[in-house]
């Protein structure tokens, strides 16, 4: 079965793009969320194999969302989507339990690589 992915980003445009990239590569997009609160709720509901998570979002930011998701499921695989110039936030997210990150602007090949690695690699 195709791995299931939950896409979290406050920009519809970004969600569309990630969705297109991943669905072209055979992933199944099972849900979308536009803020951290929604992301946590959807995670609990859908238990996707992977979450792509924007950092700067309204309601609850991506880092807080990662913390909450990890609380629900310590094995959750969350891939952070970050803009340039956010190193410290990325580190904070990784410390919170995110598996990996990708940097905007996205290159499809890199997104797919990061997603594959997060899914199939050694979770440690």
């Amino acid at each position: 079965m195709a791995p299931s992915v939950l896409i979290v980003d406050d920009a519809l445009f970004m969600r569309m793009m990630i969705k297109d990239i991943l669905s072209k590569d055979g992933f199944e997009i099972v849900g979308e969320a536009e803020n951290g609160v929604e992301a946590v709720k959807k995670y609990a509901e859908l238990h996707p194999d992977l979450v792509t998570m924007d950092i700067v979002m309204p309601e609850m930011d991506g880092i807080e969302a990662v913390r909450n998701i990890i609380k629900i499921d310590p094995g959750a695989r969350v891939l952070m989507c970050s803009a340039m110039g956010q190193q410290p936030l990325v580190v904070e997210a990784l410390e919170a339990g995110a598996k990996d990150f990708i940097i905007k602007p996205f290159q499809p090949a890199k997104v797919v690589e990061a997603v594959r690695k997060a899914l199939h690699g050694d979770g440690g």
């Binding site: 519809l12 110039g85 940097i103």
Partner: protein, 715 residues
């Protein structure tokens, strides 16, 4: 894998516009409440998202400007730059420029917009306080933070404050000199760090002899040197290093690295670095663990010391849980909630529904002639379903007026500032929905109406105070449902309209003659105001008073099947109301017959129907009128107006349809009433557009065409 980015352009434009609206809205809020940090955060977030989107699309200009803005906003957020008028003005200019660039992109205009002056402005307002306050310069502050050994702990306890500082790219770069990533690691790794600072002569990483001895003595421990290569295009190398160290710390103890940690943190290396680690794991397993990190191109392992005893099985958890989890997590909830549909598709859908409605009416008419109960029943069902379908299609086309209203607070603010007026702008009923097509069309008329309110309605604070009014004027924009119409109202508590001045002006402009001037009453004000070429403003201001305003509003309203109303109280205020049908395509109508022809009267304008006798008709000022209860209603005989071949003789009773547009009533005399029915409106062709009295045509169930009466133009 290549990707065609252009397919996302429309979506990008739409969303970028939404962000721009939000930015304007929040900045207005901030201007009124400069200490509201929440609003700053909202603005920051929108700007940040816009930047990310633009970068993804490769729109460098947008990215650059959004980035400059973000810098300024960051300073507002931390409070080291106060929210001054200058700052607000600069941000507004930024938004305007962003808008211009977005428009250029939307229209495929390739030219670059020069905003270097604006960037200078942004930087100037950002620097301002540094000049005023002899506060230490930024790098010093940063250094002080770096020297603070508990920095990572601080970050954990005050995530908000630190995050805010760090998103600013320059600050972030400087902060990299502080090694937060590594320090946050488990103690054993930190202990290993000092050893790394020693100069390493060899081109390969050597492990400290003491470490070699100690770990070699530990049963089951391997000591290995890993050569890790990052992708050439890797963007945040220091973070990748952090991830490698973190992973290794989970597997064993990090003994050292080359180049040393500080250099790795500063990204002072090409793409390859070496790490020494003592671990019970096999080389293969360590390699696999590191390769699971994105942008790690390769890992080479040199085992420097094999354990004396066989390695214990690792306690580290595998990654095999994923499949179980996937199976368990599958639920019916897997679906997407919304899709964006091109408006043209919805138009086509609406047209098809329209055709369906016509055919249903036709079927119903055929069925009337027959007496088959089953057919009747099936038809009833079809009717119900068609109605539901139509309702749903209509709903998909409805958009809250908010989409158009959102831009006006900014406009009123700018106008008020330009004219030295103080205005509270109130918006009500943002959630009211209108057909998308109508909404797109009313933006311009609303701009005229609001400009008029600000320009001609609200006086200067001095003048208002002299008149005993509060210095701040109020302009209110509200939307509400009114039967089959949506009313959009612009109210101002300003000067009101002085009919005499309006008429005199029309006279002086030659729009009306002397005789006409004398016969005009207050009821004629709107008509005169809406005459092409009329303007009440004594000076032509930059924004309105060019004599196109109300004329344009009226013709647009009528083109959309709506109308304009005016209410005023000299010296106290003016209300201009735009009444619009909910939808353009399908309306309820009262069908009437005049001299063998069928006509449709939009039901939204119908108040009641009556049958009158010749003696009910009185003559008032040489015009026919009927008295109904306490009202005198002008009578308009359609057969005479339309110059029909068959006219009613003076002795017959006949039905009248009382139509109502705002306060004005008119009784339409017809030959017979047919009944209420849904009609699909077809607009008249261009060459028929100028025909007064008709709003369009509709196809009847019989296949014949009926004209739709345009009630406002008959008033």
């Amino acid at each position: 894998m290549e990707m065609d980015i252009s397919q996302y352009k429309d979506l990008f434009i739409t969303e970028a516009q939404e962000h721009l609206d939000a930015l304007n809205k929040f900045l207005l809020q901030l201007e009124n409440d400069p200490n509201n940090l929440d609003v700053v955060t909202e603005i920051f977030r929108s700007a940040h998202t816009l930047k990310g989107m633009s970068a993804t699309m490769g729109y460098d200009q947008l990215t650059e400007l959004a980035h400059e803005m973000e810098n300024l906003l960051e300073h507002l957020r931390t409070g080291d730059v106060p929210v001054t008028t200058n700052v607000v003005d600069t941000l507004f200019s930024c938004f305007d420029t962003l808008g211009a660039i977005i428009n250029a992109i939307a229209e495929d205009r390739p030219e670059q917009i020069d905003f270097s002056g604006l960037v200078g402005e942004i930087r100037a307002v950002t620097e301002e306080p540094a000049v005023e306050q002899p506060a230490p310069e930024e790098p010093i502050v940063v250094e002080a933070e770096v020297a603070e050994p508990q920095a990572p702990v601080q970050r954990a306890t005050e995530p908000e404050a630190t995050k805010a500082e760090l998103t600013e790219p320059q600050a972030a770069e400087q902060r990299v000199t502080e090694p937060p990533a590594i320090k946050a690691e488990p103690a054993q790794q930190q202990a290993a760090v000092p050893a790394l600072a020693e100069p390493v002569a060899s081109s390969e990483l050597e492990v400290d002899e003491a470490d070699m001895r100690r770990y070699s003595a530990t049963p089951g421990m391997r000591i290995m040197r890993l050569t890790v290569e990052l992708d050439r295009e890797c963007l945040l190398k220091s973070v990748r290093v952090f991830m490698v160290f973190k992973k290794l710390a989970q597997l064993g103890d990090v003994l050292g690295s080359m180049p040393p940690v500080e250099a790795l943190e500063d990204e002072k290396f090409e793409s390859t670095f070496q790490v020494a680690v003592a671990t019970p794991e096999t080389g293969q397993r360590v390699e696999k663990a590191l390769l699971a990190i994105a942008e790690i191109a390769s890992v080479k392992t040199d085992v420097l010391h094999e354990p004396a005893l066989e390695a214990r099985p690792s306690g580290a958890a595998g990654a095999d849980g994923a499949t179980d989890k996937a199976a368990a997590g599958l639920s019916a909830a897997r679906r997407t909630q919304s899709v964006r549909v091109n408006i043209a598709r919805l138009d086509t859908l609406m047209n098809l529904v329209g055709e369906l409605v016509i055919n249903r009416t036709r079927l119903a008419q055929i069925a009337q002639g027959s007496n088959i109960p089953d057919l009747r029943e099936a038809l009833d069902q079809t009717s119900r379903l068609t109605a539901e379908l139509q309702d749903e299609v209509m709903k998909t086309r409805m958009v809250p007026v908010e989409h158009v209203f959102n831009r006006f607070p900014r406009m009123v603010r700018d106008l008020a500032r330009a004219e030295g007026k103080e205005i509270d702008f109130v918006v009500e009923g943002k959630e009211i929905e209108l057909d998308r097509t109508i909404l797109d069309e009313i933006s311009d008329p609303l701009i005229h109406m609001i400009r008029n309110a600000v320009d001609h309605g609200i006086a200067t604070p001095e003048k208002r105070v002299k008149q005993g009014k509060p210095a701040r004027g109020t302009v209110k924009l509200s939307a509400y449902r009114d039967r089959n119409y949506v009313a959009i109202e612009v109210y101002d508590d300003g000067e009101g309209v002085e009919p005499a001045r309006v008429f005199d002006r029309a006279l002086s402009k030659g729009l009306i003659g002397e005789d006409e001037r004398r016969s005009l009453t207050d009821d004629d004000v709107l008509r005169v105001l809406c005459m092409p070429g009329f303007s009440t403003s004594d000076q032509v201001s930059g924004v309105s008073g060019r004599g196109v305003g109300m004329d344009a509003v009226k013709s647009k309203a009528e083109a959309l099947g709506g109308f304009v109303l005016l209410a005023f109280e000299p010296g106290l205020g003016t209300t201009v109301t735009l009444k619009l049908p909910l939808t353009l395509a399908i309306v309820q109508a009262l069908m009437v017959e005049v001299s063998g022809e069928t006509y449709a009267v939009p039901l939204g304008t119908v108040r009641e129907t009556h049958v009158i006798s010749p003696e009910d008709i009185k003559t008032v000022q040489s015009h026919e009128a009927i008295f109904l209860r306490d009202e005198t209603i002008p009578l308009l005989r359609l057969d005479r107006l339309l110059e029909c071949s068959h006219l009613l003789n003076g002795a017959e009773q006949f039905p009248v349809v009382i139509t109502e547009i705002g306060p004005r009533l008119i009784a339409l005399g017809v030959h017979s009433l047919i009944g209420q029915q849904e009609i699909v409106i077809s607009t008249l062709d261009k060459f028929l557009k100028r025909v007064e009295g008709f709003a369009g045509a509709t196809i009847l169930g019989t296949g014949r065409v009926a004209l739709i009466l345009d009630i406002p133009s008959l008033m």
